[in-house]
């Protein structure tokens, strides 16, 4: 019963928390929102230097971590500080390269871990919603390699990425798990065009059009048509990560609200003396502890058998989706107007907690998935 709480991870967590506390101010986010990438290059370099990017990858590919609890440790701190840097996309795309790449492809990871290159995973499509197996984008085999045609939507870090892992169908029907292949594509490939934009909760994304993009055979990542299992596994890592981030954001939202209840005076006393608010605050506290346990369960089973892992991961994303919404809305409501203002940090956490539910499957998606997985148990 360690719950992943090792000495090393405690040090990692302390270090990261200190770094972000010192370098991440609330007003920074609104400035970053005006930039093309939506995030801070300095922070990114700092994270790389601290080894935070490396902590997401195994030693085999040049990292020094990569286990479920390494990921959750890092992302909880990122969530607590409200960072907008693209670590999630790095973990997702980078993980696929680490798992499936040949030696040449794995070399792409060194500059990523060093913070010098940006990557993204272009998987979602206009009609896919949260379905991981929904791939309409098509890869036609040619003499020299493949030609990619299709559209990818809401590609996280898609505006800033130098290299993009693209999923495309090489066989099968639109929602088949079989027949999906991955390709490593440089952003300047001919026929690839991006419509970049900011995300409402910070950072960047892009709509990506693939209009007959020709890639060599060496662009194929992993075996032809069999990428689904790897995508599912890395989605599980990414979901664990984003759940841990949500946990950190919940803690921050909770702390800000408790502090506000203690200081804000109304009717001659701190509003935290009003019992109705006290009792609602306690529900938030309980939600946070439930979320923490859900994250532990997911992280703890990330290296386990597929069925248990996926059930734990879907359970976590469902629970985080439900509690995240409740915490976001309740914390704003208990603050009143001030909780909605951009200049006050809570608004970022409130927004982030809501929008996390729109990434990698919402609470409904994962509940239905949890039920389906239960039937095959």
């Amino acid at each position: 019963m360690q719950f992943g709480d090792t000495e090393d991870r405690r040090m990692l967590s302390d270090m990261l928390r200190r770094f972000l506390a010192e370098n991440y101010a609330n007003d920074m986010r609104s400035k970053l929102a005006e930039t093309q990438s939506g995030f801070s290059a300095e922070i990114w370099a700092g994270l790389a230097e601290l080894g935070i990017i490396g902590a997401l990858f195994s030693e085999e590919v040049g990292g020094f971590g990569g286990a479920g609890f390494d990921i959750s440790t890092v992302f909880e701190e990122l969530g607590r500080a409200g960072t907008v840097e693209p670590l999630l996309d790095t973990l997702y795309a980078g993980g696929l390269i680490a798992d499936l790449g040949d030696e040449a492809q794995k070399e792409l990871l060194a500059p990523v871990i060093a913070g010098e290159k940006q990557i993204a995973f272009a998987h979602g499509e206009p009609g896919s919603r949260y379905d991981l197996s929904h791939v309409e984008t098509h890869a036609a085999q040619t003499a020299a390699g493949f030609t990619l045609t299709g559209a990818k939507s809401v590609v996280g870090n898609g505006a800033a990425a130098d290299t993009i892992v693209v999923s495309a169908r090489t066989s099968g029907e639109v929602r088949d798990a079989n027949g999906i292949s991955l390709f490593v594509v440089p952003v300047n490939a001919k026929g690839l065009s991006r419509k970049p934009y900011a995300k409402l909760d910070g950072g960047n994304a892009a709509e990506i059009a693939l209009d007959g993009v020709e890639v060599p055979s060496s662009a194929l990542l992993g075996p032809l048509g069999c990428a689904f299992d790897a995508i599912e596994f890395r989605a599980a890592s990414a979901i664990t990560a984003i759940c841990a981030e949500a946990l950190g954001a919940m803690e921050q939202a909770k702390d800000l609200t408790v502090e506000y209840l203690k200081t804000r005076q109304q009717f001659g006393r701190p509003i935290g003396k009003f019992q109705a608010l006290q009792h609602r605050m306690v529900e938030i506290l309980i939600d946070v502890e439930q979320a923490r346990s859900a994250v532990i369960n997911a992280a703890d089973h990330l290296e386990g058998d597929r069925l248990t892992r996926e059930r734990m991961v879907s359970a976590a994303k469902n629970l985080i989706g439900r509690t995240g919404r409740r915490i976001s809305e309740e914390c704003v409501q208990m603050h009143g107007g001030i909780g909605m203002t951009e200049e006050y940090a809570l608004s970022h956490f409130a927004r982030r907690l809501i929008l996390i539910d729109h990434v990698l499957g919402d609470a409904d998606h994962h509940l239905e998935r949890f039920i389906a997985l239960g039937k095959s148990a």
């Binding site: 919603r129 409402l200 009717f267 704003v332």
Partner: protein, 395 residues
């Protein structure tokens, strides 16, 4: 009330709206794009020409004289037609207060200018230290000859950036306790010393503002009623039947829009609308709305029969905003991953970015975030609960 032919009235309203609304306005409302000052003014002028701008004013002041059922019909149809809302501060708030408590000079001067758009009003009640608690109101007005000199700060002042007049609660007796010693003052915002500063909200929108007063000189003629009696006048709006506090029209139109979105969004190859859980949520909120529309009509009937509402307003405010927020929440959830892009900017006027995802998705998140304010502003849900607890339950 029974002498009105409501079916004929509804037909007339529909016909008018179909004719009067420009494509530009309809499209902006449909997409949830921000309204400019000119947009508002365009619509107000059209309504004023028709004589339908002041739905809750008596005919003698240029209002419609409609009964409650007519107002509910108009409200539902206007929302369905994607008509812009009428900015309420002059028409629904300042107007009734002037009619009830203003002197003849004030009525003669201000009322026509609300209708013709010369005056754009905003509401100066809230202060940084006094949200629901007016006892701690700090903005003060000190009598100096035939002027008051006003100093202080108001906040959460919606659309103050467009306004040229503000009605304010100001402290005129610093020694009075609680809600006493407060006066109701009308201030020309072009007076030197008035400053408006925008507040950016979590949806990125800048609808609300701070309004600062630095030695602003206000003629004593601009006092409503008696000095130190301001809270009485302000309170009138809380207990007086407010137009549209239940938001039946908004909820009805938004629910219909949600259903259309859920038909278009696909989930595992089926419309989201056919997903049993999503369908159930839409149906539950529809059922709640059907009941609330009847609660609203019951309240209107009660008022028409001469009884003062009061606590019904609070109940309708709580339930109405809850229903609106639930519909906004479902709409946000319906659009899936497209809730994430900051895509409203791309659609806005003068911006030639292309749209991201389906057009109905653009405003889903922003509207959800923006409308968190519904349960905060205008007397928070918590404040309404305390009012009801005290007055109805006697707790």
């Amino acid at each position: 009330m029974s002498s009105v032919d409501y079916d004929a009235f509804r037909t007339e309203v529909k016909a008018f709206l179909a004719n009067a609304l420009s494509e530009n306005l309809k499209e902006k409302i449909r997409l949830g794009l921000p309204m400019t000052k000119a947009d508002h003014e365009e619509w107000h002028a059209i309504l004023n020409d028709k004589g339908w701008l002041a739905v809750n004013w008596p005919v003698e002041y240029g209002g419609t004289g409609w009964d409650g059922m007519q107002r509910q019909i108009y409200e539902i149809e206007a929302c369905l037609a994607n008509a812009p809302r009428v900015v309420p501060f002059g028409l629904a708030m300042m107007g009734p207060i002037l009619q009830k408590f203003g002197n003849d000079t004030q009525k003669a001067y201000f009322l026509p200018r609300i209708l013709n758009g010369e005056h754009w009003w905003c509401q100066g009640y809230s202060e940084p230290g006094a949200g629901s608690d007016l006892a701690s109101l700090k903005t003060k007005a000190v009598r100096d000859g035939d002027h008051y000199v006003v100093n202080g700060q108001k906040t959460w002042t919606t659309l103050a950036q467009h306004a040229n007049w503000i009605f304010c609660l100001v402290r005129t007796d610093p020694n009075a306790k609680k809600q006493e010693g407060i006066s109701f003052l009308l201030i020309d915002m072009t007076t030197p010393g008035v400053e408006v500063r925008p507040i950016e909200l979590l949806d990125g929108d800048c609808e609300v503002n701070e309004v600062w007063f630095d030695n602003v000189r206000v003629p004593v003629e601009n006092l409503i009623g008696e000095e130190n009696e301001g809270w009485t006048y302000a309170k009138y709006l809380l207990t007086h039947e407010r137009t549209n506090i239940a938001g039946v029209g908004f909820s009805n139109a938004n629910l219909i829009a949600l259903k259309a979105i859920a038909q278009k969004e696909q989930l595992n190859g089926q419309p989201l609308a056919d997903n049993p859980r999503f369908a159930a949520r839409m149906a539950e909120v529809e059922i709640d709305l059907m009941a609330m529309a009847t609660t609203n009509l019951r309240t209107i009937a009660k008022v028409a029969s001469g009884q003062a509402p009061g606590v019904e307003s609070s109940m309708l405010k709580i339930k109405g905003t809850e229903i609106r927020q639930e519909i906004d929440d479902l709409t946000r959830r319906a659009v899936g991953p497209y809730a994430v892009p900051k895509s409203l900017d791309a659609l806005a006027e003068g911006n030639n970015n292309e749209q991201i995802g389906p057009d109905y998705a653009a405003s889903a998140s922003v509207k959800y975030f923006n409308n968190r304010k519904l349960t905060i502003f205008g007397g928070s849900t918590e404040v309404q609960r305390s009012i009801i607890s005290k007055s109805v339950l006697g707790l």
